[in-house]
Amino acid sequence: MNRRSGSAIGRGWLVGLLLGGWLAPAQHARATDEGATPLKRLTLEQLMQVEVTSPSKKPESLLETAAAVYVITQEDIRRSGATSLVEALRLAPGVHVARIDANTWAVGIRGFTSRLSRAVLVLIDGRAVYSPLFAGVYWEVQDTMLEDVERIEVIRGPGGTLWGANAVNGVINIITKGARETQGLLATTGVGTEERVFGRARYGGEVGPDLAYRVYGKGFERTEQSAVGTANFDGAQIARGGFRMDWTPLASDGVTLQGDLYGGGIDGRAAITHLDPPGVELSNRKTDVSGTNLLARWQHRYDGGSDSSVQLYYDRTRRDEPTFRELRDTLDFDFQHHVTLPFAQDAVWGLGYRYSSGDVSSLPSLAFTPPRRSDQLFQAFVQDEITLAPELLRLTIGTKFEHNDYSGYELQPSARLLLTPGGSQVFWAAISRPVRTPSRVEDDLEASGFVTVTPLPIFTRLIGNGNFDSERAVVYEAGYRTQPLDSLFVDVAGFYNVYRDLLGAKLGAPFVEAGAGGPRFVLPIFLSNDLDATVYGVEVALDTRPTDWWQVKVSYSYLQMDVRPQSGTDLLAASTAGSSPHNLASLESILDLPHGLELDTTLRYVDVLPNQEGVRISNYFALDLRLGWRMSDRIELQIVGQNLLASQHPEFGKDGPNAVEIRRGCYGQVTWRY
């Protein structure tokens, strides 16, 4: 028996596994009608032999979390037709995803949308992908086998207490399935107008009863989006592969080893400033990107309900842009212990250490001083959940302590209150004090921009500030969730954030400096902690299943940002506030038709982006349609149309010769599973 029973029930189970997420009940119901729930046919003795995948650590019901959390499931991703991780984030309410061109995205949670999402922490299976060079996430290289993603947890609001600095406005936690859940072969290939040709394949197997593994590989060729008034320039080809091994020698212990490797070229247009001879060169040049990472994690469950995990990872990224090249090595260690204490307490504490070393070589017009810099980060956190009144009121308090090489010691406390009065209703409120710590761009950068050659060569120069301090916030949040009917889930959250010492830029006194080709005139722009802001808003999400075969999700969010310089005028004030929409809304319909057909519709509304460095982006509606057909347990087809309402539209600001609009697109794909 034992292992064999796992595969004997295999094929039908595939159906069940495909159907995770909110939609699962409806789908399972149908599977039952067709007699396809094979586990039910097993005797109890057989059931006892079925090997299962391990449940996630400290499972916490979505309903009972004292934070604005939204979970994008594998099923949500599949039904959305998204072709990249970042596009899948559009599914989360209150998250502003704007595609800048074919390969770059700006993401904002509760405002501050920017190319690199400065104040949002992104983790993939526990590995932070936040780049300390320009402060943020290069979304175009964050990818994995989409079918192997178990879920994406999107936390709107601060996560600094548990997750660390830079989680001021949100945490995006991408979690892939365990190797045991991804057994067998899966292959997908497709063609389209934007994703011109793509393919991905994964194979999962087992070595003995305790060890499961998978390997995957994928690649795509992406075509250009529509450049405004000039030839298109932003295609890309990226290939990627990876593996994951899960070893469970004992029921109490699990060891995971995983890694990825990627490389590719991203076309783009760069305005390259030359100091000598003075001038600007508009160049279509490829950015070469590559990276590799290796992560090991050991989780142990103690008798009595506590558990701990130790994680170590190494990450190397290489980025070769027309104006700079960086090679960065990161080594990170984390320990975490979750324990239940007397008097109804549930505590988590942990320690972490990160070493990150970046080596930059760049044009004289974009100088990082020193070119090579290594930084260390020490962190510790503790969080305790105390039950104040059983079944009614829980208080979670905690703080993170860290020491970094830029701003020294940082403390990030938070307190969260959860009220569960029953009747499927939950109220929560929280107050937190997160920080965003400085990075090399604010500390070490000098970037020149060419203005004119007469009478003297004139340059602007963005000058980093060795005294740049952390950006600070105090965040007040409250929320309400209810499930008044089995088929209706409502989630409302509101927030009021007070920021101090945000990144600003001030014009300094012009000066003349000697260059190799003669003197030049410099207009300095000093980066400083010059901005304060008040940001508030509300997010509403509705999830309803009127029938077994139809699910409708509605979300709406409102945002107001007031950004003020601490003194005088600031060059970044208007664009900091102007890059996020006041209103975001979406309507998703997920419809199961007879004969395995699926028809999914998403309508999105994005309000005006008033000002990003002078560019205003109009509001727009976008419509995506997906028609899927499950021909059998093994073969699935889909046709997806994206941005169907207009032939092209801009989503984020770029001015002049770099401006790109996002085109209507479509693709077809076929997926095999064995």
């Binding site: 009940p25 299962v52 859940e181 029921a251 076929v670």
Partner: protein
């Protein structure tokens, strides 16, 4: 540009180019799915007195704090009935709601929540199922335990008999350790 047009010729090409792949084993179910089927089976291996239903036409399996088990269970019980009663999976948010259930599962390592539910249904014909170690000692009846990647269960026979439920001998035989009550 129509969606239909754009998949035309290239699509066919990519269909042809993909190599044929061998059949192999499929994925294992999750622990939640197996637990859901256990809960479904318990409904047949335990006898409830008629008074347990209070005139209701349905047999309710309730789940506290475990969304993935709830989802799996909804699929498992859909269209099923036991003893002429329609099986219903219900998510509950707090202990007091457990009183109307025939089976209640208490998820996670929420020891506090477990004792609350156990108090709420003490002496009533409600089969209590949990996971935490202290669950059986506090008077819980069946506890799921993970054993080398499989889901097994333990039974606290004394707690079962106090509740007025009658458990089949087969279930008792299969239980890993029949836990003695304090």
């Amino acid at each position: 540009m129509s969606a239909v047009r754009c998949i035309s010729r290239r699509m066919l090409l990519s269909l042809l180019l993909t190599p044929l792949v061998p059949a192999s084993v499929a994925a294992a179910p999750t622990a939640s799915e197996v637990k859901a089927v256990y809960l479904y089976n318990f409904a047949s291996f335990v006898d409830w007195p008629d008074t347990a239903f209070g005139g209701s036409e349905t047999f309710e399996i309730c789940v506290l704090r475990d969304d993935s088990l709830s989802r799996a269970l909804e699929g498992v019980v859909a269209g099923e009935s036991v003893g002429g009663r329609r099986l219903v999976a219900r998510r509950i948010a707090r202990a007091l709601e457990a009183a109307g259930c025939q089976i209640v599962f208490i998820g996670g390592n929420e020891t506090v929540g477990a004792s609350g539910v156990l108090q709420a249904v003490a002496g009533k014909p409600v089969l209590t199922v949990g996971e935490v170690e202290v669950f059986a000692r506090e008077g819980g009846m069946i506890r799921f335990v993970m054993e080398r990647g499989t889901v097994r269960f333990q039974i606290n026979a004394a707690a079962v008999s106090r509740s007025g439920l009658v458990m089949s001998s087969k279930l008792l035989q299969l239980a890993r350790v029949a836990v003695a009550d304090d």
